[in-house]
Amino acid sequence: MSDKFISIEAIAKRYPGADGATTTVFENLWLSMARGEFACVIGHSGCGKTTVLNILAGLDVPSEGAVIVDGQAISGTSLDRAVIFQSHALLPWRTVLGNVAYAVSSKWRSWDRAKVKAHAQTFIDLVGLTGSEHKRPSELSGGMKQRVGIARALSITPKMMLMDEPFSALDALTRGTLQDEVRRICLETGQTAFMITHDVDEAIYLADKIFLMTNGPGAVLAEVVENPLPRDRGRTDLHRHPLYYALRNHIIDFLVTRSKTFAAETPGHDPRNVPLVQIGKPGLTIASDAKPEPSRETSWPGQARA
């Protein structure tokens, strides 16, 4: 962690609440990422994940603290940081090519039409939409729309990609293919990526590092979990890796119980030095290894407990 490409330093977000009180979504949040790293943030709704992403994107400003990207404090949005929106956010009056070309011509204002078109086409081909350039977003399926969103984000060759639950509105099959695409593109182009997700398996498949956030208001970054799976992991044999379930259980345990109780149980939590959890490495106590409680198993109505 010598190279801090992105460094979020002591940011806080507060909203004025009713009768003069302020609601603190999170405060004193520190987070850093290396260049080329893929990070996923997991936490329950309302913990401020989207706010963190919007602050990183420059769409929102923190009440306190600063965000440093590539050695410079950010102010406002930038073409260096592309956003892939949950709702794809395509401009419906433009075609697929028009949507991507809009981003391209925003980045390179002096380019002529042909050059913009050729550049946009490259990225449409990259996400596998060749042949659909002249369709309008309304003629595309959800997965294809999100592909256009990805092509638009990539076409401006950003330094990093910010993704706010990009696949949550898609069906499982499409989601899988798109995860493959995003993983392939990020590995090929060496993108730094920051993704919000609710899907534990998505985080395990894509992320190098998983940030776990506790429940809001007053959310904190509880742990940084390093993904022990090899970098050349495949979707099909992911679950056969010996550390897969340890990792998965650790995250799920966090989401189910520890996200609520973390603040009370860990009074000495230092938000500047968030513990790095390395599953499978000796010398570390891992919550999920502690005690799998059989009594916690679910029993469905009409089914005898195993």
């Binding site: 769409l59 949005t77 073409l79 956010a89 401009l91």
Partner: protein
């Protein structure tokens, strides 16, 4: 299926028209000699007294008169006798001028108000008070200040068509989806380019709907305004023919007002369809 529906609808429409014309014809036809009187006296009394003919013209009278008008739409025999084409052209020109002026004011102003919450709040009370005022109520004020009846009519059209356009522009601009604005912001698109490439296309269907409401209102108001200011125009024609007791011409004018109003609405509807995008 749809073509057969269309065919059936057309059949019903035509039958209704024929039925209406038939009833109209029967109700106004001559019933035959009612009283005997000396031919000279009868000539003086006219068909209403001698043949039981209704004073209301029948469809055949109106049709014949309409044909006459259509043959010579642009004749000009002095102030009180101009072709219908000329009268309509005056009205359309007034509506067009007032309406275009309103477009030029309402759309940029609506953009400003829609994009600025401060202006929106500050101007809201004025708009709320000015909007419900009948456009004709402005007429004396316009005549007094402008001192020209024809320009006053244009002003009245301007003032009546500005509100729906202004309010719809404000509504459309303020209601552009946050995520589209976010897209423009993350792409570092400047305010002016954002206004033209994101907000304008996104708000265009709402703006055009306002423009369509406005042209309808403008066409309603021009008839009344021209009755007041006089001189030229289809509204003046209606009132003049009423003074001439030519019910036939009044009916023809009513029919033409309806047809022109429909055409204006259809033109705006076509524009609205052009800018509407499916989501």
């Amino acid at each position: 299926m749809t073509s057969s529906l269309r065919l059936r609808a057309a059949l019903v429409s035509i039958s209704l028209l024929v039925a209406f014309l038939g009833v109209w014809h029967l109700a106004t036809r001559s019933t035959g000699t009612t009283t005997t009187m000396s031919p000279e006296y009868a000539k003086l009394m006219g068909l209403t007294a001698t043949q039981g003919k209704s004073a209301m013209p029948g469809p055949l009278d109106v049709g014949a008169k309409l044909w006459e008008h259509l043959k010579r739409p642009f004749y000009d025999n002095g102030p009180n006798d101009k072709g219908l084409g000329i009268q309509l052209a005056y009205s359309i020109a007034r509506v067009g001028t007032g309406y275009l002026l309103a477009v030029l004011v309402a759309i940029p102003l609506g953009f400003l108000i829609g994009m600025s919450p401060l202006l929106s709040k500050a101007l809201d009370p004025f708009i709320q008070v000015l909007k419900p005022i009948s456009p004709l109520a402005w007429m004396p004020l316009a005549l007094y200040t402008i001192k020209d009846s024809s320009i006053s009519a244009i002003f009245v059209i301007f003032i009546c068509s500005i509100w729906p356009m202004l309010l719809n522009t404000v509504f459309g601009v303020a209601g552009v989806r946050k995520e589209w604005i976010h897209v423009a912001r993350t792409l570092e698109v400047g305010t002016v380019r954002r206004a033209f490439t994101v907000i304008l296309p996104a708000a265009a269907p709402t703006i055009l709907t306002g423009m369509r409401i406005s042209i309808g209102i403008a066409w309603l108001v021009i008839v009344a305004a021209e009755m007041l200011v006089g001189g030229t125009g289809i509204g003046y024609f209606v009132w003049n023919e009423w003074n001439n007791l030519s019910i036939t011409n009044v009916i023809i004018a009513i029919l033409l007002i309806g047809i022109i109003g429909m055409l204006l609405d259809q033109i705006l509807a076509r524009f609205t369809r052009m800018v509407t995008f499916p989501e």
